[in-house]
Symmetry: C2
């Protein structure tokens, strides 16, 4: 580690705080980073020169002493967030501080091929960027409903889209002329919740999302997203919960996601492909309306029992301090009564159950886009000055294909 690395680290730490807290005072920065006032002043000045932040004097007056100027993220640079799905490609431009500046949902008549995804996404990003001439789109992140190799953004398998061993990040980068990184959608949901949602502050966390194509998840270990050896960690949906259970689409027996399907929950309340909010409110309504022991109660109780078994294993293995539930698992949690909630971790070792709090995901429909944007910001925040002169020349500094 040389002296330059110190500078890079400190600049990166400042920028990361500005990003995560959407603006902080310089005084906050000195306290959070333990650096000298003069050093912080210098670092902020460098970031301001390079177009990353603005300083403003509209500090909320708080206490005696000279007020500290606020350091705010600047929108001169944006990243693109892309989420291809079965019937839509969701595209957004996201600022530092994770504000969605522009968003367009491009409807599809049929599931997209990779080529179509690349073409539509690149075009849509260009159109959205044209509406924001004062900003430059400097990188992109893609949330893919499937397994993505993180070293090069190759989609190993996305059953819902019918993709298999398809390069994705590379052609997108070629089409857009900026670095592109891709990752599993649940991983990125986890990142988003960790940075800006229900996972804030948790150093060890398990995120579980119940979507139409199954149950995915993500992990945070020591405050950092955990990908595993190649990027496929977090697949608790394919943990065994019943060795005598049904055959799962993955070929194994008794997977969690085969026993806790979103479709069954939706069917119990008479819906077919509800979105998260619709499913949740229908479920809560049904639970209130129905007598205890009715079919909705039954299905909720059944799914909670299986979920508890899977959570027991994960909680005993990881000793997380937080568990965040999204999608129909969030709906399940909301529909559960006091006893059912307690029993979710009831069979875990007491010490592990005591450390863990269960929360419901907070970011709703913006989750995947914010997560994809986080992925895109990663390399830039890690080394803010490399983006200084030519934004395109920095491609190889990223864990990304350009």
């Amino acid at each position: 580690m040389d002296a330059g690395a110190v500078r890079r680290r400190n600049l990166s730490a400042v920028l990361e705080l500005v990003h995560l807290r959407r603006g902080v005072t310089r005084a906050d920065l000195t306290r959070a980073l333990g650096l000298n006032r003069s050093t912080i002043g210098d670092l902020v000045a460098v970031l301001a020169e390079n177009g990353w932040v603005d300083e403003r004097d509209d500090a909320p007056r708080s206490g005696v002493g000279r007020p500290s100027p606020r350091v705010l993220p600047r929108d001169a640079r944006l990243v693109a967030a892309i989420n291809p799905e079965l019937d839509v490609i969701d595209v957004a431009l996201v600022s530092l501080g994770a504000e969605i500046v522009a968003r367009r949902r491009v409807p599809l008549s049929e599931p997209p091929t990779v080529a179509a995804t690349v073409e539509r996404a690149a075009r849509t990003v260009a159109e959205l960027a044209a509406d924001h001439p004062e900003s430059t789109v400097v990188a992109a992140g893609v949330a893919v409903p499937g397994l993505v190799r993180h070293e090069d953004g190759l989609v190993r398998l996305a059953p819902r889209l019918g993709w298999r061993e398809e390069p994705l990040a590379a052609p997108l980068a070629a089409a857009m002329g900026i670095p592109v990184a891709a990752a599993n959608d649940a991983h990125l949901g986890c990142r988003a919740e960790q940075s800006f949602g229900a996972g804030q502050g948790a150093r060890t966390m398990l995120y579980l999302n119940g979507g139409p194509s199954g149950i995915g998840g993500g992990l945070v270990v020591d405050g950092r997203p955990m990908d595993g050896a190649a990027g496929y960690a977090g697949e608790l949906g394919h943990a065994s919960v019943d060795p005598n259970g049904p055959l799962c689409a993955c070929g194994a027996i008794g997977c969690l996601e085969a026993l806790v399907p979103r479709a069954a929950l939706a069917a119990a309340v008479g819906l077919e492909h509800p979105d998260d909010d619709t499913l949740e409110s229908a479920l809560l309504t049904a639970i209130v309306a129905e007598d205890t022991g009715g079919p909705v109660h039954e299905e909720v109780a059944r799914q909670l029992r299986w979920l508890a078994i899977a959570l027991r294993g994960a909680v005993n293995l990881l000793n997380p301090e937080r568990i965040v539930l999204g999608g129909h698992l969030a709906a399940l949690w909301r529909a559960a009564d006091r006893d059912q909630r307690a029993s979710l971790l009831g069979q875990a070792l007491p010490v592990n159950a005591a450390d863990a709090t269960i929360e419901v995901a907070a970011l709703g429909g913006q989750r995947l886009l914010i997560g994809a944007a986080e992925l895109a910001w990663d390399g830039l925040i890690a080394d803010p000055l490399s983006a200084g002169e030519s934004d395109a020349a920095r491609a190889d500094a990223l864990p990304v294909v350009s």
Copy 2:
């Protein structure tokens, strides 16, 4: 991060390499750390001045060019490693480079209380230290067969010893006058295997050990040991593998360790409390002697089936690149035939199964002591100069109770 932090980090990185590789040339250090020759020379000189390393010119001649002196760990400082068990307290002095310099197994007539453990361990360490007057014992680590809170080394529960909510690190530190850290024995086995055994080089690894009191484990994530929120991670032994299975001692149903007990394997080969080596060789002998389908084959196959179910969940959740098996799980693996070995990860997602290799633990009976020593070295290696003048004054720099 200030300038001094750079120095600390670099010194620490050099010392860590010397420790892990049990000596390296200065040329190796420049390559491994990417620092300048002159910087490495300076760092090594500082470490040598402070009694951490020796330089010797006995380099193995390899190729042209001026030979690089070897930097070797020096035994001026030692750490104590302590492992209380049911019928013995195992104590050792361990050098930088993880060589066991002295060891004594103190036999017990009955399971030790915490007070007895503290007294016997402290006395034994003092006696061993007296045999090595040229060295100073500067810290200690304890491997506990139970759940240990890592912030203060309090034993939450050690069923085998009958301990519950017992402070351990604090009284030991008081008795010995040096910093003491304590952790779960399987965690420390994992650390030992990671640093010096079958886990070397793995950045994501799952360690699983089958002992007489159950199945414990440890995790390595991003090259660093993973403890969880409070220190209780790795308990895959209490993952559910059969919701209709037997009641486990932990109060839950169908835990892995209830279905894969060491005692059943030992009983199958007619032994009662065999050590690891005895069990393994007896099992291998029996497998060869017995016809396929016999009771030993049956028990091995049965246990492997349950183990596969638990491993599936863990592998899909973590996407590890290595799985290390110890204790009777290692014996199981050794006894398994080709097909059985393949089927251990056969139900995991193919991408996850492809990334993971299964290995057998390599360090045998020294594992826990080496792991406990690793724990003790942690704080010292992280900041070598703080130990320079007064070895005792550095206590509060450690994640440890003094």
